[in-house]
Each structure stands twice: as structure tokens, then as C-alpha cells.
Amino acid sequence: MLSVAARAGPFAPFVSAAAHAVPGPLRPLAPAVAHRDRKVPLDPKRPLLCRESLSGRAARGGLVVSASLNAPASVRCVHNDVAVPDFSAYRRQDVQDARASSQGSSDSRKGFSYLMTAAAGVTTAYVAKNVVTQFISSLSASADVLALSKIEIKLSDIPEGKNMAFKWRGKPLFVRHRTQAEISQEAEVDVSQLRDPQHDLDRVKKPEWVILVGVCTHLGCVPIANAGDYGGYYCPCHGSHYDASGRIRKGPAPLNLEVPVYQFVGDDTVVVG
């Protein structure tokens, strides 16, 4: 729809509809050109590209005349004619009636709006937090890397009395299937005499399985299984003797062999890490 909206500004004396009859749709508007013998206070050389160009020349805000190709032309006369449109389609139920005060329902309307805002705010915060953490946690270790941190060991592969060594997180992991004799022997040891006092049952979940990190707590060598004076492990580097529970008994090491985090999954499997 082509429409031309022009300000009558400088032409106001010639197009002042308020003081004269308003032209109906069939009658033409007054000509927008002044008599030839009068000077038109407009610079014809300056290009009139838009309504704003004309408006700058107006003595004061004048009438607005709008004409278009296939819609009625209209002339707004004075501010009294400006009618505020009817917004009933957007009003809430409480304020539909123009004859009732809006004060009474004001609290409930405000309450509803504030509640919706608060709920929206909480939801947005929750969603935003989730999105951000998802993106940032994608920068952390991936699943295949994390998988390397755990090891699953089949316990039925390890006969009684035998100690098996696995590579786990770059370190040796000792899984020892202890005999009953070893278990009772370790249980009877006087804890107060130990350098790093710990009762055997505190270091194991099931007494027949002891799982240790095979790194000597002295200077980090790998102890040899089923060696040493205490029926446990012996570190050849500096002569540390560990017992069947991995506790230091003789030698320069200060602490017991580390017990990693592990979990028995089912009867036959243990997951370490």
C-alpha cells in the first residue's frame, strides 16, 4: 500500500481544516500550493525525502494529512479528536469493567505478575546454569579418558595365596587372594607395635581379598610379592618389609601400602578406582 503522509507545516494557512469545513472523502483537499504571487516559505532546492524534511520547516507542529492509494484519507484536526484505542482485548478480567475501580484488584494483579516473573527467573536461572555447566564440563576429561581411571578385575582368575599385579593409572595394583592362615595371622598382630598403626580389618572390605597400590611408601619402588620376613611384600631398593595386609613392619618406609578406592560388583568382580 502506497501511502504518503505529509505535514502541512508551511502550508498550514492554506490547509487548516479546523477553521474550515473538513473535506469529505469525495471532495478534494485544499490545494497544497500557494498562490503564485505569494512567496512560499520553502526552499525548493532542498530535497524533500521524508516527512521529517518537511517537519523541520514548520512554524509549529501543524496538522497531519494522510492520503493513500486504497485507504481513506484522513485529517486530524485537533488534540481533542485523538482517541485512545480500545485495549479491552488485552485487558485482564479484573479491569475489563470501565465502571469499576482498578484499585481493588491491583494487589492480586501485581501478585500474579510478580509470581510469574519470579518463577520465570528461577526457571531461567536453572536452565542457564545447566547450559553453562554442560558447556564447561565438556572441556573436562572425556568418557574414554575417564574409563582409563577404573579397572575391572575378575576375581576367579586369582587362585588362593596368589598375588596378581595389574597396571592401573600408571601404577602397579596388587590384588592378593589371602588364605585363612594369612587372615588370622594378620588379625592377631598387635596394632600398637606398628609404625603406621592400622588394624587389618580396617584395610579390607572382604578379608580374603586385599587390594593395594604396589608403590613403596619410602621412595617409590615396586615391592616383590610373597617375599620378605612377614609373608607379605619386600621392597628390594632399600629393604622395606610389608606384611600380608600391606603394612610396613621393617625397613625405612614410613607408611603402609596405600589402599585404593574399590568396590565389589557382584561375586566375581571388583572395580578399583
Partner: protein
Amino acid sequence: AWGGQRRLSLSYAQTLQNIPETQVTTLENGLRVASEESNQPTCTVGVWIEAGSRYEDTKTNGAGFFMEHLAFKGTKKRPGSAFEKEVESLGAHLNGYTSREQTAFYIKAFSKDMPKAVELLSDLVQNCELENSQIEKERGVILQELKEMDSNLTDVTFDYLHATAYQGTALAHTVEGTTENIKKLTRADLASYVDTHFKAPRMVLAAAGGISHRELVDAAKQHFTGTSFAYKEGSVPSLPRCRFTGSEIRARDDALPLAHIALAVEGPGWADPDNVVLNVANAIIGRYDRTFGGGKNQSSRLAALAVEHNLCHSFEPFNTSYSDTGLFGFHFVCDPLSIDDMMFCAQGEWMRLCTSATDSEVTRAKNYLRNAMVAQLDGTTRVCENIGNHLLHYGRRIPLEEWDARISAVDARMVRDVCSKYIYDKCPAVAAVGEQSSYVCPDSLNHSGSLLVSSCLCMGGVPRHICH
């Protein structure tokens, strides 16, 4: 001075007590006659009627204003220019005004001419001729007047404010009516308007000056007994409540050099005692105009800010009341680029009043208000108008002594409470006229007042529209 009156040294309180009492008599047909006698050679007599644009509907909007124009153009007893000539031969002034809720006609004359003035008024109000040729002639006159009124941007702003704040109700109508109505109103419409609204129980005959109440009542009985007081088939016009809508209207015109902005929240009706406190609050806010000499040292905080940061050309607070509702707000004129700053500061001042109005500024405001109340009543015309207004709004004349007592009872805590009640967290109505290219939008009125967030929540009614 007239009659060489001796100057008495009375205290303020004594002076207030010595003001003569307003005497009120009600005639049999319901017309109220009220007067304040004072020893003056002149007097003002007038009729105040409970009729205005609020009583009109969309089709008859403008009838009251039209009627006011025709009132001086001749009555049945004194056709044509005979009426005006008779008034002028008394050396009297005849004046009238129409507003949204009341219409008034009053004559300022010598005290001895009071009975004649009453007769003239009764003629005007009861026997208006509404001659057809005059009606046609007045159409053009009124349209021209409307065009001239369009250049008074303050009034235009307030009209827009009413149009948006009370949208969809009778208070949205302008007093003058639309051009369509001015062209279409017929004699029958005007006659029906007069018949419906110019009834004795809705009128007050007020007088002030060198008149005696007894004589006034006699004159009223003689001339106003005929005023009708009955309605056909019980069709008494009722005045429904007008709903206030927090909303905005912008009449943008970049050709104008300045922006006029008016912002208001819904205030109380006439008879509400909160009005006194709100007037004190307005006195704290104060007024300002670029021509004020106080500069940065003005007691009004907002004015000092306006000077320091060059926020506006002028501002003034207002508290317009109607029978059951009102508009409490402020209006300012400023350069287009400082609209947001001025709006922010003005609303900040409102918030400050709600939370931390201090005793010293309340005391100052009370004194200012007392002074204004008393100074306002200089002259018989002002007193007469005061009587007419009070009887229509309150049902009785409230004496200055009572006003003084009510003002004295206001303290800082009351100002904070009442301001919070009307301002805090309420949606305002805003009207803006002129160049507003840099105007964003007003906050809803609460502490955090973040522009974007709270502007999306217009609890009052919704509309945030832009109208050319």
C-alpha cells in the same frame, strides 16, 4: 484602603477565627444558597453546578462547553445582546467556566446590585435561549478556539493524560469535545443537556462580599424557586466510577522544540483526608521554572537538581481531584535529551518521599501550604469560588481554621505512609507531547526500578501504546 480600616495586630490563629462564618440555606427545591459576608463594596455572586464533561457520553461530549458559549448569547427574557448589555450597564463582569465535573457562572458587581445579579444568573441558568442561528455561528467560533487551544501544550498534555489514564471512561473526554461533535450537536442535544443537569439540588448559589445572607436567600427564593428539581421517570443520572489505567500516550512531534511530560498515579477523591497530606508532599517537591532566581540554593531538592544538571525548563507537581478519584503527579517541560534524566530524578524524589521524608522539610511544606491556602482567598471572587467548590465537593464549607488544624496534624511519618500508599509500586499514567526522540520509558515505581525489566510489567491495565 477602603473606609480607612484600622490595622489590628491579631495573631494568625486569631485572624483565622475571626473570619466570618459561611452561612448555608437550602431552599425547598434543593438549591443551596451560601455566602460569606464581609464589609466590601463589591461582591461576587455565582452559580456552581454539578455538570461537566464527565456527565457526557461520546455522542454528547462538548455539549457543556457549547452551552457555556451560548449562555451569554441571550435568554428568553433578554434575547440577543440584551443580556450582555444589561450586565454591562451594571458595570459588572460576567464570567463562566466548564470543567470535567462542574460548571460555573458568576457575576462580579457592586454589593448593592446583588439582587439584580441573582436575577440575571437565574435567567441565564434557567432560560437560556439556544437560538439556532447563534448555535451555527458558535460552531465556527468553537472550532477556532479548539485550534488555538492546541498550541497551549500544557493543557494538551493534561488532556492526553486524562485520555489515557481514564481510557474508556467518561473522564477521558476533553471538556471542549471533539470536532465531530461540535459540528453535529443540535439544539435538541443542548436543551436535553440543560434539562438533565441544571437541576436545583445540583446547584449552589454562592456569594461573597458586601452582601447579607438574608437578602441573598430572599433573592434566591424570588428567582430560583422555579428551577426544576425532578427527573422524568426516575432517570436520575448516576456518576459511575471511572477506572484508572496505568498507561502511556506519546504525541510525538519533532518539530516542537521542547517536550512536555505529565506523569500521574491514581489519587484520592475530593473528600478523602489523604488530600491534605498529598498537598504537603507536593509542597515538599516544590515548583521550578528557569526564571527562578534561587539557583542551586532552592529548598526544593528537585529544583536544586534541575538547576545543577540542567534537567528541565520547568516542573510542577499537581493533585487533581474528582468526586471519587484523582490524579496525583507532576508535569515538566524539558529539552528532548534530558527527558530520561528528569524522569529519573523526579521519580527518585517521589521514592525519597515514600521512604525518608524528613521532619524539617515537612514543617517547611506545611508552612508553605498554610500560606498558600490563606493567600489564595484574596478577593470576593476567589472566596465565592471557594464556597461554590466546597459545597459541591464536600457538602459544606471547610473553614480556614479547620484546614489549618488538618495541615498541622501532618507529620513526616504520615507523609511517608500516604505517599507509599499512592505511589509505591503503582503503575503510573504518562502523557508526552513534543520532541521525544530520546525518551525511553518510565519505570514502574519501585526501588530497584530497572528500566527494561519493570517496564514489561504493566500491572495496571496493560497498554503501553504510542499514539500520534
